[in-house]
């Protein structure tokens, strides 16, 4: 499947700027996204830095309360809507989905480009909102504060998020149609890489959930701008209705953020254990199950909101159920590694980190799903630690692991394995130092979203901030050695990891149209040669 055209690939096919900004090549669009989301990650990270600096002392000496509220709001909005939700799908998904299924591009290349334009426009709105005063409602925009009382740039930010939602919808739409209609001959559903299953499930969530938060945010903007009071208690409106509509999307959104990572982990673990993923069908089905059941649990964000206790009990029970398919994945990855031939390269280090940290994050999710426990820890740092374990310890490590795994394919270069490992380990240490203390202060009662806290929590907060510094180093290091690899790195062959998958049959980097001829698939996914020890198990 490697192509002729000596040295011509999607990167050097055309050097003009307009060939990048007007491209319809899914691989180039992936890189456009890579640059954009990295910018937002830096912004979100800087905001986190200021937050952690402020929390070094209990007295909020660094920033005032109003500023602090803007900081955590913007941190949440930036990280969730402009980094985590697009990250893997828009970068790795865009790049790999056509390659993995043997297609020349996604089903709708121009819509793919449109999706990036929309992302940039939405992001610009939000940045403008941030620098012209910011917004302080929390990323959750709860009414009636956001709709009636806030004096900050709610409208502008809401518009920015609203616009960006369409970027997500279009990406999901493209993936769903592509996976249904453009698989290579012989590539049946049961032969698809689990990365594809994960992105398919993610795309379903994007399609079914995002529009609801879109209309909800629009209603908040209408209420602010035109006085059309849907959530206004003075008219008999219910602010809790906002929460229902908001969380209907925002809970499944967390599965948008984690499912693609899980797809990455399946690929990496299989490759660096030299073994098929244990229980392929179960893992594939678990992705769909998470996507579906994930829509039935949103009320667990509203246990103490005055939501009916009976509804709360239903949501609590369903939340327990949704943990099951996630746990199944962890068991299956572990079983994959059992009696495998483990190679601790950088992507595998990230994958191992993911499995451990996601397990902790997931278990604490069960604690939170327990209605009575949540009454105690709701709005404390316990919740903050829980979701950072999943989002940072899970999703971001999956993203970085995937970026390293497919780096040679994307760039045609190899990075320094030594620095890769150093960064991964630094990140792991920094992460735990940052967020584990937050579980403790959370149980002890430290509330979130306050710029001050009771003095007895200071030591643990100092630990957390120290951890954040190490974490930051872990994030900055790849910036250096990956850039170095672009400039001076060793050339990569088509398949440096000897991995299975159609993407590894194309050149590194691939030519613009991926494959000369459409490949025909005859093998199952992960057809790693069986190891002598494995056949004994």
């Amino acid at each position: 499947m490697t192509t002729a055209g000596a040295g011509t690939n999607y990167l050097n096919a055309d050097y003009r700027v307009r060939s990048w900004l007007l491209t319809t090549d899914h691989k180039r669009i992936a890189l456009l996204y890579l640059v954009s989301i990295s910018v937002f990650f830096a912004i979100g990270g800087a905001l986190a830095g200021v937050i952690r600096l402020n929390l070094l002392t209990p007295y909020g000496s660094l920033v005032q309360a109003e500023t602090y509220n803007k900081l955590f709001t913007m941190h949440g909005i930036t990280m969730i809507f402009f980094f985590l939700i697009p990250s893997i799908p828009a970068v790795l998904g865009n790049f790999l989905v056509p390659l993995m299924i043997g297609a020349r591009d996604l089903a709708f290349p121009r819509i793919n480009l449109l999706s990036w334009y929309i992302y940039v426009v939405g992001g610009t709105f939000t940045i403008v909102a941030a620098v012209t005063g910011g917004v302080d409602t929390g990323w959750t925009f709860y009414t009636p504060y956001s709709s009636t009382f806030a004096n900050t740039n709610v409208m502008l930010t809401a518009l920015g998020v609203f616009i960006t939602g369409f970027s997500s919808i279009l990406t999901g739409l493209n993936f769903v149609v592509t996976i249904h209609k453009m698989r290579a001959p012989g590539l049946t559903w049961s032969r698809l890489p689990l990365f594809i299953w994960a992105h398919y499930a993610t795309s379903l969530i994007m399609l079914l959930g995002t529009p609801v938060v879109a209309i909800t945010i629009l209603l908040v903007a209408l209420e602010r701008g035109l006085g059309i009071g849907i959530f206004d208690p003075k008219l008999g409106g219910d602010p809790i209705l906002f929460q229902h509509l908001f969380w209907f999307y925002s809970h499944p959104a967390v599965y948008i953020m984690i499912l693609p990572s899980m797809g990455v982990i399946s690929e990496v673990v299989a490759c660096f254990s030299r073994k098929r993923v244990f229980g392929y069908t179960v893992v594939a089905v678990s992705s769909l199950t998470i996507a579906i059941v994930g829509f039935l649990v949103w009320g667990h964000h509203m246990f103490v909101s005055s939501q009916s206790m009976y509804a709360g009990m239903i949501f609590s029970f369903l939340s327990f159920l949704v943990a099951i398919p996630s746990a199944i994945k962890v068991f299956n990855w572990t079983a994959t590694m059992y009696k495998g031939s483990i190679d601790l390269r950088t992507p595998m280090l990230y994958a191992l980190g993911f499995i451990g940290l996601f397990t902790i994050g997931g278990l604490t999710g069960i604690f939170l799903a327990t209605l009575a426990v949540d009454v105690h820890v709701h709005d404390t740092y316990f919740v903050v630690a829980h979701f950072h374990y999943i989002m940072v310890g899970g999703a971001i490590m999956g993203y970085l692991g995937g970026l390293h795994f497919w780096w040679p394919k994307i760039t045609g270069k190899l990075y320094s394995e030594a620095w890769g490992r150093i960064a991964a380990i630094t990140l792991f240490i920094g992460f735990n130092l940052t967020f584990f203390p937050q579980f403790i202060v959370g149980i002890l009662g430290m509330p979130r979203r306050y710029h001050v806290y009771p003095p007895e929590f200071q030591f643990l907060n100092i630990l957390s901030t120290a951890g954040a510094t190490v974490l930051a180093i872990g994030y900055v290091l790849p910036l250096f050695y990956l850039t170095w690899s672009l400039l001076k790195g060793e050339r990569a062959g088509a398949n440096p990891w000897r991995a299975t998958g159609l993407e590894w049959e194309a050149d590194s980097p691939p030519p613009t149209f991926n494959f000369d001829r459409t490949p025909v698939v005859t093998a199952e996914a992960y057809a790693y040669p069986s190891l002598p020890e494995a056949s004994r198990g």
Binding site: R104, T178, P211, V212, I215, L226, I228, I230, L235, F513
Partner: protein, 213 residues
């Protein structure tokens, strides 16, 4: 025909199936987009039934019914336009598309008249809302939903009409024939969907409680 098949598709059939599936995927997002409004409506109607019924009685039943018939008629003409494309008949395509546009504009015109009436009757939510009877605040809630839902629907119709104008221009050039009419088919799907939204909006907003007490 090969000239109509984009380079990344294997053949015309794959392209056609992708287009249709893509439009249906988009329509699912539209179901959920309007769905948020329907969910809010359901919550408030079940809580403030009397106020909602009262508000509903102040909507013009005749205009609403006429508009419903107009929109259903426009779905017929749209379906016939697509049929004409399937049969490679250029003339009927254009005629039926123009009829659809006309009916769509008629719908919007009547809607504008209704909105004007509501403005005169001080039933537009916000600063100028005024309601003499009881439950004024809840009635304002009803009209908030009335304007939000019909307004969002009208916006989709405007976009649809724009789409149809572009389509008509292309159809006049003979671009759509039995072997390639994807844009017609998917635009038809969009237009019928907008019709379906109104099929639900009409009874929910206009027919809450019309019986003579």
């Amino acid at each position: 025909m090969a000239e109509h098949v984009a380079h990344h598709f294997e053949d015309a059939e794959q392209q056609r199936e992708a287009a249709t599936l893509g439009m249906w995927a988009f329509l699912i997002t539209e179901i959920m987009f309007f769905g948020g409004l329907f969910a809010g409506y359901t919550v408030y109607r079940s809580t403030y039934f009397d106020a909602f019924a009262e508000g509903s009685r102040h909507l013009d039943l005749v205009l609403g019914t006429v508009n419903t018939a107009i929109l259903i008629g426009s779905s017929l003409t749209m379906a016939l336009a697509v049929q004409a494309a399937q049969r490679s008949r250029r003339g009927p395509q254009v005629v039926f598309l123009l009829l659809t546009i006309l009916l769509g504009l008629a719908f919007l015109g009547i809607k504008a008249v209704e909105y004007g009436h509501k403005f005169e009757q001080h039933l537009v939510p916000g600063r100028f809302f005024s309601w003499p009877g009881p439950h004024a605040s809840n009635v304002q809630l009803f009209f908030s939903f009335y304007f939000a839902m019909t307004g969002m629907h009208a916006l989709h119709m405007i976009i649809g009409i724009g789409l149809l104008i572009w389509l008509t221009i292309q159809a006049r050039r003979g671009r759509f024939t039995g072997s390639y009419y994807n844009p017609m088919e998917v635009s038809g799907l969009y237009w019928h969907f907008v019709d379906i939204v109104w099929i639900f909006l009409f009874p929910l907003l206009y027919l809450i409680d019309r019986h003579v007490h």
